[in-house]
């Protein structure tokens, strides 16, 4: 049986009176590629932000590799005292890349492993060069983010996440800020990672991509999981009316 990488159990999250996540549970195993689809406001991005500790959950459990990062005691979520070890389990690729503009591409990749993880610069550099090559950006090592196209910036962001050797990689709408012309190069990289059995959770609006790359598709609406399963099933022959409605609107739009 594949190792469990991430378990989100009974996650609840509200902003004021607005319940964004209503008792959501998701489990992701080693090597699995999970796509989360749904309309804006469905809670899919919030779920990713909760899993990466950018938002705190109100109640529920977050486990990485079977270890509790957050649990609920007396109805209130409590986080582990040292989240650092959990943060090293995952990487997150943002919609807006969020590269550090004052650092060169190489420094963007190297700074966290060297200054945070205290890894040897020589070893990190070697890995960074390898990853840049894989992203087709070996000639851009000394460029600054402002000199790159959106697609190139996003590939640097993916490399920056990968150089930390995460067990799981989260993508928050990785192509939503890109020109249609540039989405392809980013999706191609993610597809390659999927072929290498990188464990990934991808929030996306690219239905064809989700269908091609995922082992499982989750459709969220109104803070709950409406339907999940094999991509052909959820996207090809959904059993829930809400899913069918979403896909219809999507195709029309």
């Amino acid at each position: 049986m594949a190792e469990n990488i991430l378990s989100l159990n009974n996650i609840r999250k509200s902003f004021g009176t607005l319940d964004v996540l209503k008792d959501i549970s998701i489990s992701v195993d080693q090597g699995e590629v999970v796509s989360i689809i749904g309309s804006s406001g469905s809670g899919k991005s919030t779920l990713l932000r909760c899993a990466t500790f950018l938002e705190t959950i109100d109640s529920g459990e977050i486990l990485y590799l079977g270890q509790k990062a957050a649990e609920t005691k007396n109805g209130k979520a409590e986080y582990a005292r040292d989240l650092k070890q959990f943060r090293s389990c995952f990487g997150l690729v943002f919609q807006n890349f969020n590269l550090f503009p004052h650092y060169s591409v190489m420094k963007n990749l190297m700074d966290a492993p060297v200054s945070v993880m205290k890894r040897s610069p020589a070893e990190v550099r070697e890995e960074a060069v390898r990853l840049l090559k894989k992203m087709g950006l070996e000639s851009k090592a000394n460029a600054y983010p402002c000199q790159l196209s959106g697609g190139q910036q996003q590939r640097v962001a993916i490399a920056r996440a990968l150089v930390m050797n995460p067990k799981i990689l989260f993508f928050d709408e990785p192509t939503s800020a890109l020109d249609p012309e540039l989405t392809g190069e980013v999706l191609k990289v993610i597809k390659e990672l999927a072929e290498e059995k990188m464990t990934m959770v991808i929030v996306t609006h690219e239905m064809a991509f989700a269908r091609a790359v995922s082992d499982r598709v989750i459709f969220m609406d109104g803070g709950v999981i409406v339907e999940q399963g094999h991509p052909e099933m959820v996207l090809g022959n959904p059993s829930e009316e809400r899913t069918r409605q979403f896909l219809r609107n999507y195709q029309r739009g």
Partner: protein, 219 residues
């Protein structure tokens, strides 16, 4: 008094102007950062105190503040002040006044940095301190150079306010020379103005160079 004597006397006193200028920058640039941190403190009374301090520094004339710092300790508190208190009072008043303005400039620079920078750093495991000093501060510096240039140029001219408590910097000297018998009169003020202008031209030039040095990246 010959023209040449007048220039030499102005130039000598310009050294005092220069030291007020440079000591103020030396003190106010880092103090402004401390004031910014105080504004963001988790302890409410510290935040209130900083708020009141900034409000007073911005809301009252620097000239008046200088008089309070100079006369206050002795007249209000009965403390006997050191011999060089006149100059110290000028420096203290300038530093605390400019630190308040700098803190606000820093704040605007820091708050204009997208929240995504903090989030990216957090996910990559940077501590709060590392995030600030490695990711936020360098970008803040680039953003605040234009407003800081304004403030630094104002500071050069503000040094003349020190004359209110009798510090003999260049402007005070110019006034003394101008009213002295057989002096070059109004020409003295013109020359003092030229000193300020040339120095500020240099300041603007250097700040522009600094701004250009940060052109290698865009935010």
């Amino acid at each position: 008094m010959t023209f040449q004597t007048m220039i030499i006397q102005l130039a000598t006193c310009f050294l005092t102007t220069l030291s007020i200028f440079s000591l103020t920058l030396l003190g106010a640039v880092p103090l402004g950062l401390a004031v910014y941190f105080g504004q963001k403190s988790r302890i409410p009374p510290i935040r209130w105190l900083i708020k009141i301090y900034i409000s007073i520094m911005r809301g009252t004339p620097l000239m008046l503040q200088m008089m309070v710092v100079f006369y206050g300790p002795n007249l209000l508190l009965g403390i006997s002040v050191p011999k060089n208190w006149r100059f110290l009072a000028v420096i203290i008043a300038f530093i605390i006044n400019y630190a308040a303005y700098f803190a606000e400039i820093y704040r605007s620079g820091i708050e204009s940095i997208p929240v995504g920078q903090y989030e990216a750093a957090e996910v990559l495991g940077y501590s709060k301190g590392k995030t600030f000093f490695k990711i936020i501060l360098p970008q803040m510096v680039k953003r605040v150079i234009p407003p800081m240039t304004n403030e630094v140029i104002t500071l050069v001219k503000d040094t003349s306010l020190a004359s209110v408590i009798g510090t003999v910097e260049m402007f005070t000297k110019a006034k003394q020379i101008a009213v002295a018998p057989r002096s070059p009169g109004m020409v003295t003020f013109a020359m003092a103005g030229l000193f300020y202008y040339v120095f500020n031209y240099l300041v603007a030039f250097l700040m522009n160079r600094l701004e250009k040095a940060f052109d290698y990246y865009k935010i």
